[in-house]
Symmetry: C2
């Protein structure tokens, strides 16, 4: 099993910090936005005078499932009933389970590259082969014609797996792209696994179009979701798997039973978070638009750098004028400092199945604008000084 | 994937409850003992005024890992360093990861039957074959001679997996049994995966002998542990995997990275729980001895029933005078009532690989003595009235 690309550089960052260097983390999607207080208030209320902390139903607390359906999914226009939803240990468990339900050892899942690397980890662990449809940085990662999907379809293909908005590219799928994918999945009897954990982070005026709302795809779609990014509760480890396909939910329940139950304290936080006023998301979105605009403008102002403007999530992929993005990222951590400061970025190579894409990085714009400016300045200076510049 | 044996009867229990019937749950290891307050106080302290809930290190909070080593493992005589321990999402994740580290698809792990059914679930999910050494209810589940292990050893055998004290049998392994198993694993280059989540629940005067203390087995032993039963924090979902084998810990870290981090609120509860005074365990143990003695005496007083006296955990296996324990368990839930009360037990068939063991049940003595007495009375009356009595 390959080591996580994102974590591979961590020892170099740790060593830099041990030397007293401040490292700006543009490498991980760990934002600094405040969580809604109601999430923590709910945990405090439940913990006060608590007798003991027992298991919940393997599918999660019924109160939480009901509240998610009523207070969240209805509001975002996803019409489901409680039986269509099961609480998982964050998005990580939800997509791992979705992949295992969709495909067995020796079978194939189509992903759109660049894609989230842990999809590859879980495919590897379960003997599933990922086949990738390429999307290009030059086009802003536009989804190609459906004929590209047909080219890699085999009798062993079981599903298409997308992340929308996409980690790592920030690509937001259009309604027509989603309808096309849905049609393809229906025609070829494939699951469409849609990882929508960044649903709140969309920067167009169009309403978000969930895979759950593709007409006629009720039996095909498996939704992967999480409270991690929505409320900045990454540490709660609460997500869910949603499907109107009863066989999928029955299988998801068997997986759920094998690990007994999802974390209960986190379930309480998720329950409390459902009382978050809707204005919270507007504020967060406005903040991310400021950060995105700052990051993308400053990146494109650096000679030789190109970054498309992402319409969702809080990442962008940037093409750098370097020989090798991993060597550059390591060099920044081990060699380059501006007044004892440096920057950490994630090389994008492992987000692609296509070999040879060695000059791209993923930038997470998760810092406040003043810090982001400083980080971008350091990145620009690093690129100017890097010995492997091309 | 087979449905969980323990959960298969749940719909019948739910239906009985919906009719207004009170069901005494002797079927699940969900005890009613009070958790130490310090666990919940720690969570409340951390949550007050919290800004947001971010990821921790994939291996868990370093403060928690250090405190576990110093405040817990040192005290119970297990001498490890922080690098030998990684926080997992409860014992469930820890043994699933341990099994996957030890064996790949097509390889074999030896278990001692009766065994915890979720071992079979994770073996199935990963293409691992479980081979079982039989232990007998008549002998109190005594571990047989090592020649029984040799008989089922093949070139594909990678590990022995035990639970000590054992769920479901309550068997506590003796020091000499552990030394024998260790010697066998060393000689045949096998991992010894030791699930010790019930370590605090031992009812002999002998000190507990952990697999971690088998001399010369440092590279073989993988310990699976959890705070769930120790502090009655089953819902926190915090456990750990422990090994002095550096390759094992490196592999465990890769698995840990793939699911990002363990639940943070639960990690705080576990951290707080480490301040539990040692007298807590003495009180809990005294309570369980009372419950065990009540359960085992009352079981053996029922005509045709035999239950050995367990020396650990909070389960016992009982042989019942019935045609089929699953039919009996279902009949109790659907047909039999004493003043609108009934009892739920777990059929033991799925704890065995050996076919045909159809007249045993697992009894969890997790109720207070007065309730346990009532439950045992109802069980006795049910057995007298059951049409499939043998």
């Amino acid at each position: 099993m390959p080591a996580s690309a994102i974590r591979k550089l961590v020892p170099f960052a740790d060593a830099a910090k041990a030397e007293g260097v401040k490292v700006y983390h543009l490498n991980v999607g760990a934002p600094d936005i405040k969580s809604p207080d109601c999430a923590f208030d709910a945990v405090v209320d439940k913990c006060k005078g608590l007798h003991h902390l027992s298991y919940t139903n393997s599918a999660g607390l019924i109160e939480l499932r009901e509240a998610m359906v009523e207070k969240y999914y209805k509001k975002v226009g996803i019409d489901i009933s409680v039986g269509d939803l099961l609480i998982d240990v964050a998005g990580s468990e939800a997509f791992a389970v979705a992949m295992q339900i969709a495909a067995g050892p020796g079978e194939e899942i189509i992903v759109i590259e660049p894609f989230y690397t842990n999809y590859q980890t879980f495919a590897f662990l379960n003997g599933i082969t990922l086949k990738a449809v390429h999307t290009d940085i030059e086009s802003g990662f536009k989804v190609p014609a459906i004929s590209e999907f047909e080219k890699i379809l085999t009798p062993r293909t079981r599903a298409i797996l997308i992340s929308n908005p996409c980690n790592p590219s920030g690509k937001l799928f259009t309604r027509s792209e989603m309808l096309e994918l849905g049609k393809f999945c229906r025609e070829h009897d494939l699951f469409l696994i849609s990882d929508e954990v960044y649903r709140e982070f969309c920067y167009t005026d169009e309403p978000y179009f969930s895979a759950m709302n593709i007409p006629g795809c009720e039996q095909n779609v498996i939704l992967v979701d999480s409270v991690s990014k929505r409320y900045n509760l990454c540490g709660a480890r609460i997500g869910c798997i949603v499907s109107r396909n009863k066989d999928v939910m029955a299988a998801a329940m068997k997986f759920a039973q094998s690990r007994l139950c999802p974390p209960v304290l986190g379930q309480w936080a998720a329950m409390g978070a459902l009382d978050t006023p809707w204005s919270y998301f507007d504020d967060v979105k406005a903040e991310y638009i400021r950060r995105r605009d700052c990051a993308v403008e400053m990146l494109n102002a650096i000679p030789g750098v190109f970054a498309p403007k992402p319409m969702g999530a809080f990442y962008t992929i940037a093409r750098l004028p370097v020989d090798n993005a991993e060597s550059f990222a390591k060099w920044m951590l081990t060699e380059f400092r501006v007044d004892h400061h440096t920057v950490m970025v994630t090389p994008a190579t492992s987000f692609y199945r296509t070999p040879g894409i060695v000059n791209q990085v993923r930038i997470a714009y998760v810092l406040e604008v003043p810090q982001l400016r400083t980080a971008m300045d350091i990145l620009a200076q690093g690129l100017a000084a890097y010995p492997g510049r091309r």
